[in-house]
Amino acid sequence: MPESVVFFAEVVVGGLMAGVMYSLVALGFVLIFKASGVFNFAQGVLALFAALTLVGIMTGTVPLLLTEYEFLAMPAAVAILLTAAVMIGLAYLIEFSVLRRLVNQEPIILFMATIGLAFVLEGVGDTLWGSNVKVLDIGIPNGNFEIGGMLLREFDLFAAATAAVLVIVLAVVFQKTKVGRALRAVADDHQAALSVGIPLKTIWIIVWSVSGFVALVAGIMWGTKSGVQFSLSLIALKALPVLILGGFTSVPGAILGGLIIGVGEKLAEVYIGPFIGGAIENWFAYMIALVFLFFRPQGLFGEKIIERV
């Protein structure tokens, strides 16, 4: 193959892999939006919080005191389970202290509440586990290998596989189970769902737990890639264009949107970037999303909204 083609393919594959990472974050957003109509801005911070907790448990850190004890250090598998338990506890806490009290409020009020939540979680995470940059290593393979002249990273493939499994499981749960139907009913209308006997509390705890778990997965992937630190919470901003591109309510949309954004961003950075001064990654994704929205205002797979007076 000529070199430019290989290079192009490498950029595309790199973009796809970056896209998978975006999708992982976007997935958490979609879950909560789909199931409770809440645009959860705290998703990025949830991922940060999960990663911080995971690192803390793995290194045997005592919360608040920040001293490490060797005998408290847990193996990765146990630590992940414990962190998942923490995320479920957190979901319960959020439901109890925030969501329960904001039933049937305007979406923008709920959105602001999640921003407040992001502040709280950030403060709590930093206070409990310290704000220094931490290394996260749970033993994901991290070598390189070559296919047809392209250099690929095992870690990226691992991330892609994880995302695929997550999406399949979530899609099945949403479409085929009773809980999934209840989730969709809640998303449509809180009060109506309550009146037909859907337990709102339970549903919210379930959905926030699941998205807490997705946040944990995203936190592991991003944390392994670039260290666990405050900037991890900013990946939420990376996931937003993915979200509007794919549609707020669509799990496959989050994945496809992530891939499109990832590839588009990388291609633009490599082929357009040098002409207009570089560092366009920050806003280019938003531009792609904006152009898409002109043609499909609900995103690629978003539910078409029929409006009536």
Partner: protein, 357 residues
Amino acid sequence: MLYREAGQFKNSYGKDQAIFPIRQDRVVAIVFILLALALPAVLHDDYWYNAILIPFLVFSLAALGLNILTGYAGQISLGTGGFMAVGAYACYKLTTAFPELNIIVVFLTSGLFAAAVGVVFGLPSLRIKGFYLAVATLAAQFFLIWLFNRVPWFYNNQPSGTIQSPPREMFGVQVIGAAAAPEFRYLIALVIVVIIALATKNLVRGRIGRSWMAIRDMDIAAEIIGIRPLQTKLVAFAISSYVVGVAGAMYFAVHLGAAETIAFDINLSFRVLFMVILGGLGSILGSFMGAAFIVLLPILLTNLFVGGLGTAPATAKHVEFIVFGSLIIFFLIVEPGGLARLWQIGKEKLRLWPFPY
């Protein structure tokens, strides 16, 4: 007893259309403005001006601008920081290109640039609604900041990439720039804020304001009764961005004195949005209350934790985050209508006082 409009008859159209139809409101507003104008005569503490009063005025104006768009026209925007940056850089370019131009004229003109940019980024609002639009406005935020960082022309090729507010005089005293006394910077901010706030108050109760609210409440229904959605939304974007742009110009020239693009990042957008929501969507007074709350709260918390309890600054910062976030959630739960709604409830109670109902 004190607050009752009984006996105040509106016997002319002029009286019926007054900005403050109730005499007590009018008196309070005028007294308040006069007191604010007289403040520099008695208060000479730089800290008060630089840390509290000037930021309060500037942020009130920004919140006012965003409130037009989000509170009255119902279009959520997260691009406030970007539009403020447009105002700031326009102000810098204008005043360095035409040094003899009156600084108030410069402020008011730089808003026009922000308005133009706002219209461009408001165009998608016809097709996109709700949170999709909110995310789309983030495109403006990131793109504009990137642009001001990348093109040296905007900061006159300064090697540091910073824009500095140059010394400018009015009536023989320096009003902006490094050597300007905080009293005069406060006064210039106050005058602009009062003028724009009154103009906005006037605007939102007229035809334009009503068409915004119709679009906000139900855009399809508004369209059916003959309100043109594109024009209405674009006018909202233009006027909102204009006010936000003037606020940005003052944020840079009056409050900060020197600024880099980092000052206008996404956090600024969120701060202003907080002010609007906590103050009250669709309320002019609410913008001021929200701004006061968000400006004062961190100062209070820092003083409390670092000054009062002697906590280490780093820990205090984290605790501040927690308290700040919890307070926002608390307020949303207690009164989703914002501080302005609380004020309104208080006024209703005052009308009946001393009777419960």
